[in-house]
Protein backbone atom coordinates (compact mmCIF):
# COMPACT_ATOMS: atom_id res chain seq x y z
CA UNK A 1 0.00 0.00 0.00
CA UNK A 2 2.90 2.33 0.82
CA UNK A 3 4.36 1.55 -2.54
CA UNK A 4 1.16 2.66 -4.25
CA UNK A 5 1.15 5.93 -2.35
CA UNK A 6 4.80 6.57 -3.18
CA UNK A 7 4.14 6.09 -6.86
CA UNK A 8 1.08 8.33 -6.74
CA UNK A 9 3.14 11.09 -5.13
CA UNK A 10 5.90 10.63 -7.66
CA UNK A 11 3.38 10.73 -10.50
CA UNK A 12 1.79 13.93 -9.26
CA UNK A 13 5.14 15.62 -8.77
CA UNK A 14 6.67 14.61 -12.10
CA UNK A 15 4.01 14.28 -14.74
CA UNK A 16 3.27 17.91 -15.60
CA UNK A 17 6.85 19.10 -15.56
CA UNK A 18 8.01 16.29 -17.81
CA UNK A 19 5.02 16.60 -20.13
CA UNK A 20 5.61 20.32 -20.47
CA UNK A 21 9.24 19.78 -21.44
CA UNK A 22 8.22 17.24 -24.00
CA UNK A 23 5.58 19.58 -25.32
CA UNK A 24 8.32 22.12 -25.95
CA UNK A 25 10.20 19.43 -27.76
CA UNK A 26 7.37 17.94 -29.79
CA UNK A 27 5.05 20.89 -30.09
CA UNK A 28 2.22 18.39 -29.63
CA UNK A 29 0.54 18.45 -26.24
CA UNK A 30 -1.35 15.19 -26.67
CA UNK A 31 1.79 13.42 -27.85
CA UNK A 32 3.71 14.77 -24.87
CA UNK A 33 1.04 13.53 -22.48
CA UNK A 34 0.94 10.10 -24.11
CA UNK A 35 4.68 9.73 -23.95
CA UNK A 36 4.90 10.68 -20.30
CA UNK A 37 1.96 8.45 -19.37
CA UNK A 38 3.61 5.53 -21.11
CA UNK A 39 6.83 6.21 -19.24
CA UNK A 40 4.87 6.32 -16.01
CA UNK A 41 3.18 2.99 -16.77
CA UNK A 42 6.55 1.41 -17.38
CA UNK A 43 7.82 2.86 -14.12
CA UNK A 44 4.79 1.48 -12.31
CA UNK A 45 5.41 -1.96 -13.80
CA UNK A 46 8.81 -2.02 -12.16
CA UNK A 47 8.27 0.46 -9.39
CA UNK A 48 9.79 -1.79 -6.76
CA UNK A 49 13.07 -1.36 -8.63
CA UNK A 50 12.72 2.17 -9.99
CA UNK A 51 11.76 3.53 -6.59
CA UNK A 52 15.12 2.44 -5.21
CA UNK A 53 17.01 4.59 -7.69
CA UNK A 54 18.55 7.76 -6.38
CA UNK A 55 16.43 9.78 -8.79
CA UNK A 56 13.43 7.86 -10.17
CA UNK A 57 12.43 10.91 -12.20
CA UNK A 58 15.64 10.59 -14.20
CA UNK A 59 14.64 7.06 -15.19
CA UNK A 60 11.18 8.18 -16.25
CA UNK A 61 12.61 11.17 -18.09
CA UNK A 62 15.00 8.92 -19.97
CA UNK A 63 12.18 6.59 -20.96
CA UNK A 64 9.92 9.44 -21.99
CA UNK A 65 12.59 11.04 -24.12
CA UNK A 66 13.43 7.74 -25.71
CA UNK A 67 9.78 7.29 -26.60
CA UNK A 68 9.50 10.83 -27.87
CA UNK A 69 12.54 10.51 -30.08
CA UNK A 70 11.66 7.04 -31.27
CA UNK A 71 11.36 7.16 -35.02
CA UNK A 72 9.00 4.23 -34.97
CA UNK A 73 6.79 5.94 -32.44
CA UNK A 74 6.80 9.16 -34.43
CA UNK A 75 5.83 7.21 -37.52
CA UNK A 76 2.98 5.47 -35.74
CA UNK A 77 1.86 8.79 -34.28
CA UNK A 78 1.89 10.42 -37.71
CA UNK A 79 -0.11 7.57 -39.21
CA UNK A 80 -2.57 7.72 -36.34
CA UNK A 81 -3.09 11.45 -36.73
CA UNK A 82 -3.39 11.15 -40.49
CA UNK A 83 -6.01 8.43 -40.11
CA UNK A 84 -7.99 10.71 -37.82
CA UNK A 85 -7.71 13.63 -40.19
CA UNK A 86 -5.78 15.52 -37.56
CA UNK A 87 -5.15 19.19 -38.22
CA UNK A 88 -2.25 20.69 -36.36
CA UNK A 89 -3.47 23.43 -34.11
CA UNK A 90 -1.34 25.46 -31.78
CA UNK A 91 -1.88 24.70 -28.16
CA UNK A 92 -4.01 27.34 -26.61
CA UNK A 93 -2.67 29.48 -23.82
CA UNK A 94 0.91 30.41 -24.67
CA UNK A 95 1.23 33.90 -25.97
CA UNK A 96 2.93 34.90 -29.21
CA UNK A 97 6.39 34.89 -27.66
CA UNK A 98 5.97 31.37 -26.39
CA UNK A 99 4.59 30.19 -29.68
CA UNK A 100 7.57 31.79 -31.33
CA UNK A 101 10.08 30.00 -29.18
CA UNK A 102 8.34 26.67 -29.75
CA UNK A 103 8.28 27.33 -33.48
CA UNK A 104 11.94 28.29 -33.44
CA UNK A 105 12.84 25.15 -31.54
CA UNK A 106 10.92 23.13 -34.09
CA UNK A 107 13.33 24.35 -36.74
CA UNK A 108 16.29 22.84 -34.90
CA UNK A 109 17.52 19.36 -35.60
CA UNK A 110 15.89 16.94 -33.13
CA UNK A 111 19.09 16.20 -31.28
CA UNK A 112 19.94 19.86 -30.84
CA UNK A 113 16.39 20.61 -29.74
CA UNK A 114 16.51 17.83 -27.16
CA UNK A 115 19.83 19.04 -25.84
CA UNK A 116 18.55 22.60 -25.53
CA UNK A 117 15.42 21.57 -23.63
CA UNK A 118 17.28 19.22 -21.30
CA UNK A 119 19.92 21.83 -20.56
CA UNK A 120 18.03 25.09 -20.46
CA UNK A 121 14.60 23.92 -19.36
CA UNK A 122 15.31 20.82 -17.27
CA UNK A 123 18.63 22.14 -16.01
CA UNK A 124 20.46 18.94 -16.78
CA UNK A 125 24.25 19.14 -16.78
CA UNK A 126 26.03 18.52 -20.05
CA UNK A 127 27.45 15.27 -18.72
CA UNK A 128 24.01 13.95 -17.87
CA UNK A 129 22.66 15.01 -21.25
CA UNK A 130 25.54 13.27 -22.95
CA UNK A 131 24.76 10.12 -21.04
CA UNK A 132 21.05 10.39 -21.67
CA UNK A 133 21.53 10.91 -25.39
CA UNK A 134 24.32 8.42 -25.66
CA UNK A 135 26.91 10.78 -26.99
CA UNK A 136 30.03 12.62 -25.92
CA UNK A 137 29.94 15.73 -23.80
CA UNK A 138 31.79 17.68 -26.49
CA UNK A 139 29.11 16.78 -28.96
CA UNK A 140 26.42 18.04 -26.60
CA UNK A 141 28.32 21.31 -26.15
CA UNK A 142 28.60 21.63 -29.90
CA UNK A 143 24.88 21.02 -30.32
CA UNK A 144 24.06 23.62 -27.68
CA UNK A 145 26.30 26.17 -29.35
CA UNK A 146 24.79 25.63 -32.78
CA UNK A 147 21.27 25.58 -31.33
CA UNK A 148 21.78 28.91 -29.60
CA UNK A 149 23.09 30.43 -32.76
CA UNK A 150 20.19 29.11 -34.77
CA UNK A 151 17.62 30.23 -32.23
CA UNK A 152 19.19 33.65 -32.08
CA UNK A 153 18.99 33.95 -35.80
CA UNK A 154 15.40 32.79 -35.99
CA UNK A 155 14.26 35.02 -33.19
CA UNK A 156 16.19 38.00 -34.51
CA UNK A 157 13.17 39.10 -36.46
CA UNK A 158 11.39 39.81 -33.19
CA UNK A 159 14.38 40.86 -31.14
CA UNK A 160 17.89 42.03 -32.06
CA UNK A 161 20.32 39.13 -32.00
CA UNK A 162 22.86 39.09 -29.24
CA UNK A 163 26.04 37.17 -29.02
CA UNK A 164 25.57 33.89 -27.22
CA UNK A 165 28.00 32.98 -24.52
CA UNK A 166 29.90 29.77 -24.74
CA UNK A 167 28.70 26.96 -22.51
Amino acid sequence: MTEHREFAEFYSASFQKLAAALYVYTGDLAEAQDVVQEAMIRALARWSTVSTYEEPAAWVRQVAWNLATSRWRRLRRGLHLAAQGHVETPAPGPGPDRVAIVAALAQLPARQRQAVILHYLEDQPVAVIAETMGTAEGTVKSWLHRARAALAEQLSDEAPAEEVDHV
Binding site: H4, F7, A8, Y11, S12, F15, Q16, K17, A19, A20, A21, Y23, V24, L29, A32, Q33, V36, Q37, M40, I41, L44, A45, A91, P92, G93, P94, G95, D97, R98, I101, V102, V116, I117, Y120, L121, R148, L151, A152, E162, E163, V164, D165
Partner: protein, 257 residues
Protein backbone atom coordinates in the same frame (compact mmCIF):
# COMPACT_ATOMS: atom_id res chain seq x y z
CA UNK B 1 19.55 39.71 -19.12
CA UNK B 2 21.89 37.63 -21.19
CA UNK B 3 20.72 35.65 -24.12
CA UNK B 4 21.13 32.47 -22.10
CA UNK B 5 18.96 33.83 -19.34
CA UNK B 6 16.49 34.97 -21.93
CA UNK B 7 16.45 31.52 -23.51
CA UNK B 8 15.98 29.84 -20.17
CA UNK B 9 13.23 32.26 -19.25
CA UNK B 10 11.47 31.76 -22.56
CA UNK B 11 11.59 27.99 -22.27
CA UNK B 12 10.45 28.03 -18.65
CA UNK B 13 7.69 30.44 -19.42
CA UNK B 14 6.46 28.29 -22.28
CA UNK B 15 6.53 25.15 -20.18
CA UNK B 16 4.81 26.86 -17.31
CA UNK B 17 2.15 28.28 -19.57
CA UNK B 18 1.32 24.89 -21.03
CA UNK B 19 1.10 23.08 -17.72
CA UNK B 20 -2.49 23.99 -16.95
CA UNK B 21 -3.47 22.47 -20.24
CA UNK B 22 -1.74 19.23 -19.50
CA UNK B 23 -4.24 16.60 -18.46
CA UNK B 24 -2.57 13.78 -16.65
CA UNK B 25 -4.50 10.55 -17.20
CA UNK B 26 -3.77 9.72 -13.59
CA UNK B 27 -2.29 6.92 -11.56
CA UNK B 28 -5.45 4.84 -11.72
CA UNK B 29 -5.39 4.96 -15.51
CA UNK B 30 -1.79 3.83 -15.43
CA UNK B 31 -2.73 0.93 -13.17
CA UNK B 32 -5.65 -0.10 -15.39
CA UNK B 33 -3.42 -0.06 -18.44
CA UNK B 34 -0.82 -2.10 -16.66
CA UNK B 35 -3.38 -4.66 -15.46
CA UNK B 36 -4.83 -4.95 -18.95
CA UNK B 37 -1.42 -5.48 -20.51
CA UNK B 38 -0.50 -8.08 -17.95
CA UNK B 39 -3.78 -9.91 -18.53
CA UNK B 40 -3.21 -9.87 -22.26
CA UNK B 41 0.33 -11.04 -21.79
CA UNK B 42 -0.82 -13.82 -19.49
CA UNK B 43 -3.49 -14.83 -21.97
CA UNK B 44 -1.06 -14.88 -24.82
CA UNK B 45 1.37 -16.86 -22.71
CA UNK B 46 -1.34 -19.36 -21.88
CA UNK B 47 -2.31 -19.74 -25.51
CA UNK B 48 1.31 -20.12 -26.50
CA UNK B 49 1.90 -22.63 -23.74
CA UNK B 50 -1.18 -24.58 -24.78
CA UNK B 51 -0.08 -24.45 -28.38
CA UNK B 52 3.39 -25.64 -27.44
CA UNK B 53 1.97 -28.43 -25.33
CA UNK B 54 -0.33 -29.47 -28.17
CA UNK B 55 2.47 -29.24 -30.67
CA UNK B 56 4.82 -31.14 -28.42
CA UNK B 57 2.16 -33.77 -27.83
CA UNK B 58 1.52 -34.04 -31.55
CA UNK B 59 5.21 -34.47 -32.18
CA UNK B 60 5.71 -36.81 -29.28
CA UNK B 61 2.77 -39.11 -30.02
CA UNK B 62 4.30 -40.80 -33.06
CA UNK B 63 7.42 -41.56 -31.07
CA UNK B 64 5.40 -43.18 -28.29
CA UNK B 65 3.17 -44.90 -30.78
CA UNK B 66 6.00 -46.60 -32.54
CA UNK B 67 5.20 -50.26 -32.61
CA UNK B 68 6.93 -52.13 -29.88
CA UNK B 69 6.95 -55.75 -28.97
CA UNK B 70 4.23 -56.38 -26.50
CA UNK B 71 5.82 -58.38 -23.69
CA UNK B 72 2.62 -60.31 -23.10
CA UNK B 73 0.87 -60.67 -26.39
CA UNK B 74 -2.22 -62.74 -26.66
CA UNK B 75 -2.63 -65.21 -29.49
CA UNK B 76 -4.54 -62.84 -31.64
CA UNK B 77 -4.11 -61.22 -34.98
CA UNK B 78 -3.16 -57.93 -33.37
CA UNK B 79 -0.39 -59.45 -31.34
CA UNK B 80 1.07 -61.04 -34.42
CA UNK B 81 0.90 -57.73 -36.16
CA UNK B 82 2.76 -56.14 -33.32
CA UNK B 83 5.56 -58.60 -33.68
CA UNK B 84 6.05 -58.02 -37.37
CA UNK B 85 5.32 -54.33 -37.57
CA UNK B 86 8.15 -51.92 -38.02
CA UNK B 87 8.10 -48.14 -38.39
CA UNK B 88 7.61 -47.27 -42.00
CA UNK B 89 10.49 -45.04 -43.07
CA UNK B 90 8.38 -43.21 -45.58
CA UNK B 91 8.98 -39.70 -46.85
CA UNK B 92 6.04 -38.36 -44.93
CA UNK B 93 6.09 -37.29 -41.34
CA UNK B 94 5.36 -39.90 -38.74
CA UNK B 95 1.74 -40.71 -38.40
CA UNK B 96 0.20 -40.71 -34.95
CA UNK B 97 -1.04 -44.20 -35.62
CA UNK B 98 1.11 -47.19 -36.39
CA UNK B 99 1.58 -48.00 -40.01
CA UNK B 100 -0.33 -50.90 -41.47
CA UNK B 101 1.17 -54.14 -40.39
CA UNK B 102 2.10 -56.85 -42.78
CA UNK B 103 0.27 -60.11 -42.39
CA UNK B 104 2.19 -63.08 -41.15
CA UNK B 105 3.73 -65.48 -43.57
CA UNK B 106 1.24 -68.01 -44.88
CA UNK B 107 3.58 -70.80 -43.96
CA UNK B 108 3.28 -69.93 -40.32
CA UNK B 109 0.01 -70.29 -38.56
CA UNK B 110 -1.21 -67.51 -36.33
CA UNK B 111 -1.19 -69.69 -33.30
CA UNK B 112 2.27 -70.97 -33.97
CA UNK B 113 3.46 -67.38 -34.16
CA UNK B 114 1.60 -66.60 -31.00
CA UNK B 115 3.22 -69.58 -29.33
CA UNK B 116 6.62 -68.26 -30.36
CA UNK B 117 5.80 -64.90 -28.88
CA UNK B 118 4.79 -66.40 -25.60
CA UNK B 119 8.06 -68.30 -25.53
CA UNK B 120 6.17 -71.53 -24.88
CA UNK B 121 8.26 -74.55 -25.74
CA UNK B 122 6.15 -76.60 -28.08
CA UNK B 123 7.07 -80.26 -28.52
CA UNK B 124 8.90 -80.64 -31.80
CA UNK B 125 7.98 -84.26 -32.21
CA UNK B 126 4.37 -85.27 -32.12
CA UNK B 127 3.62 -88.92 -32.61
CA UNK B 128 0.35 -89.52 -34.39
CA UNK B 129 -1.13 -92.98 -34.76
CA UNK B 130 -2.73 -94.80 -37.62
CA UNK B 131 -5.35 -97.50 -37.78
CA UNK B 132 -5.37 -100.12 -40.52
CA UNK B 133 -1.91 -98.97 -41.51
CA UNK B 134 -0.81 -102.38 -42.77
CA UNK B 135 -4.13 -103.56 -44.11
CA UNK B 136 -4.36 -104.31 -47.78
CA UNK B 137 -6.51 -102.07 -49.90
CA UNK B 138 -9.06 -101.10 -50.53
CA UNK B 139 -9.00 -99.92 -46.96
CA UNK B 140 -9.71 -96.85 -44.99
CA UNK B 141 -6.74 -95.64 -42.96
CA UNK B 142 -7.42 -93.41 -40.00
CA UNK B 143 -4.75 -91.09 -38.68
CA UNK B 144 -5.28 -89.60 -35.31
CA UNK B 145 -3.64 -87.81 -32.38
CA UNK B 146 -3.89 -89.76 -29.13
CA UNK B 147 -4.89 -87.85 -26.02
CA UNK B 148 -1.39 -88.15 -24.59
CA UNK B 149 -0.04 -86.18 -27.56
CA UNK B 150 -2.85 -83.69 -27.53
CA UNK B 151 -1.97 -82.91 -23.92
CA UNK B 152 1.63 -82.17 -24.90
CA UNK B 153 0.83 -79.96 -27.82
CA UNK B 154 0.72 -76.18 -27.69
CA UNK B 155 -2.61 -74.52 -28.22
CA UNK B 156 -3.18 -74.47 -31.94
CA UNK B 157 -0.17 -76.56 -32.76
CA UNK B 158 -0.64 -78.64 -35.85
CA UNK B 159 1.01 -81.74 -37.18
CA UNK B 160 1.40 -82.27 -40.86
CA UNK B 161 1.23 -85.87 -42.02
CA UNK B 162 2.56 -87.02 -45.33
CA UNK B 163 1.86 -90.44 -46.61
CA UNK B 164 2.43 -92.55 -49.72
CA UNK B 165 1.77 -96.10 -50.79
CA UNK B 166 3.70 -98.12 -53.40
CA UNK B 167 3.17 -101.25 -55.47
CA UNK B 168 5.72 -103.60 -56.80
CA UNK B 169 6.56 -103.68 -60.41
CA UNK B 170 7.58 -106.97 -62.02
CA UNK B 171 11.11 -105.65 -62.47
CA UNK B 172 11.55 -105.35 -58.70
CA UNK B 173 10.95 -101.62 -58.48
CA UNK B 174 8.15 -99.88 -56.61
CA UNK B 175 6.06 -97.02 -57.90
CA UNK B 176 3.87 -94.72 -55.87
CA UNK B 177 0.20 -95.45 -56.40
CA UNK B 178 -1.30 -93.04 -53.88
CA UNK B 179 -0.31 -90.42 -51.40
CA UNK B 180 -1.17 -87.11 -49.84
CA UNK B 181 -0.85 -84.82 -46.88
CA UNK B 182 -3.01 -83.21 -44.26
CA UNK B 183 -2.90 -81.57 -40.87
CA UNK B 184 -4.03 -82.87 -37.54
CA UNK B 185 -4.60 -80.66 -34.56
CA UNK B 186 -6.66 -80.43 -31.41
CA UNK B 187 -9.42 -78.97 -33.52
CA UNK B 188 -9.18 -81.89 -35.96
CA UNK B 189 -7.51 -84.73 -34.10
CA UNK B 190 -8.26 -87.47 -36.65
CA UNK B 191 -8.70 -87.94 -40.36
CA UNK B 192 -9.41 -90.97 -42.52
CA UNK B 193 -7.99 -91.69 -45.95
CA UNK B 194 -9.11 -94.37 -48.33
CA UNK B 195 -6.50 -96.39 -50.18
CA UNK B 196 -7.52 -98.27 -53.25
CA UNK B 197 -6.65 -101.90 -54.04
CA UNK B 198 -3.54 -102.75 -55.91
CA UNK B 199 -4.08 -102.69 -59.63
CA UNK B 200 -3.90 -105.78 -61.83
CA UNK B 201 -2.79 -108.12 -59.16
CA UNK B 202 0.37 -106.17 -58.53
CA UNK B 203 1.57 -106.86 -55.05
CA UNK B 204 1.16 -104.12 -52.54
CA UNK B 205 4.44 -102.47 -51.88
CA UNK B 206 5.74 -100.17 -49.15
CA UNK B 207 3.47 -97.76 -47.32
CA UNK B 208 4.98 -94.70 -45.71
CA UNK B 209 3.59 -92.36 -43.12
CA UNK B 210 5.63 -89.40 -42.16
CA UNK B 211 4.97 -86.84 -39.46
CA UNK B 212 6.02 -83.74 -41.36
CA UNK B 213 5.72 -82.22 -44.77
CA UNK B 214 7.77 -84.28 -47.16
CA UNK B 215 7.64 -85.45 -50.73
CA UNK B 216 7.96 -89.11 -51.49
CA UNK B 217 9.66 -90.25 -54.71
CA UNK B 218 7.50 -91.57 -57.51
CA UNK B 219 9.60 -94.69 -57.84
CA UNK B 220 11.83 -96.74 -55.65
CA UNK B 221 14.32 -98.76 -57.66
CA UNK B 222 16.44 -101.81 -57.04
CA UNK B 223 14.34 -103.16 -54.20
CA UNK B 224 15.36 -100.24 -52.00
CA UNK B 225 13.23 -98.77 -49.24
CA UNK B 226 13.03 -95.36 -47.73
CA UNK B 227 13.17 -96.53 -44.16
CA UNK B 228 14.41 -99.50 -42.29
CA UNK B 229 11.56 -99.43 -39.86
CA UNK B 230 9.02 -102.07 -40.69
CA UNK B 231 5.60 -102.77 -39.42
CA UNK B 232 5.22 -106.33 -38.40
CA UNK B 233 2.30 -108.44 -39.47
CA UNK B 234 -0.78 -107.92 -37.46
CA UNK B 235 0.26 -104.54 -36.25
CA UNK B 236 -2.26 -102.42 -37.93
CA UNK B 237 -1.95 -99.58 -35.47
CA UNK B 238 1.31 -98.11 -34.28
CA UNK B 239 3.26 -95.08 -33.25
CA UNK B 240 5.13 -93.67 -36.18
CA UNK B 241 7.30 -90.92 -37.38
CA UNK B 242 8.42 -92.52 -40.59
CA UNK B 243 7.29 -96.06 -40.74
CA UNK B 244 7.67 -98.55 -43.46
CA UNK B 245 5.33 -101.30 -44.29
CA UNK B 246 7.37 -103.18 -46.77
CA UNK B 247 6.25 -105.76 -49.24
CA UNK B 248 8.14 -108.56 -47.63
CA UNK B 249 5.05 -110.69 -47.24
CA UNK B 250 4.19 -110.20 -50.88
CA UNK B 251 7.67 -111.21 -51.91
CA UNK B 252 7.52 -114.19 -49.67
CA UNK B 253 4.30 -115.25 -51.33
CA UNK B 254 6.11 -115.34 -54.65
CA UNK B 255 4.14 -112.44 -56.11
CA UNK B 256 7.25 -110.35 -56.41
CA UNK B 257 10.32 -111.82 -58.03
Amino acid sequence: MSDLDALRAALADTARAVRPQIIAPGVEAARRTLRRRRAIRAGVSSVLAAALVTLGFTIAVPQHKQPTLDPTPSPSVSSMAVESATPSPGPTSPSPTPSPKPSPSPSRSRLAVAAEQTNVTCPKTIRPKVRNGNADGPVRLTFYLPQSELDRMCPGQKVFISWATYEWLPQGDQFQTDGGGFELSAAMPSLSQSIGAANGGICRGDRYFHAGNTTFPHQLTGGKHLSKATLTDGRSTGIFEQHLEDGTACIAAGEIP
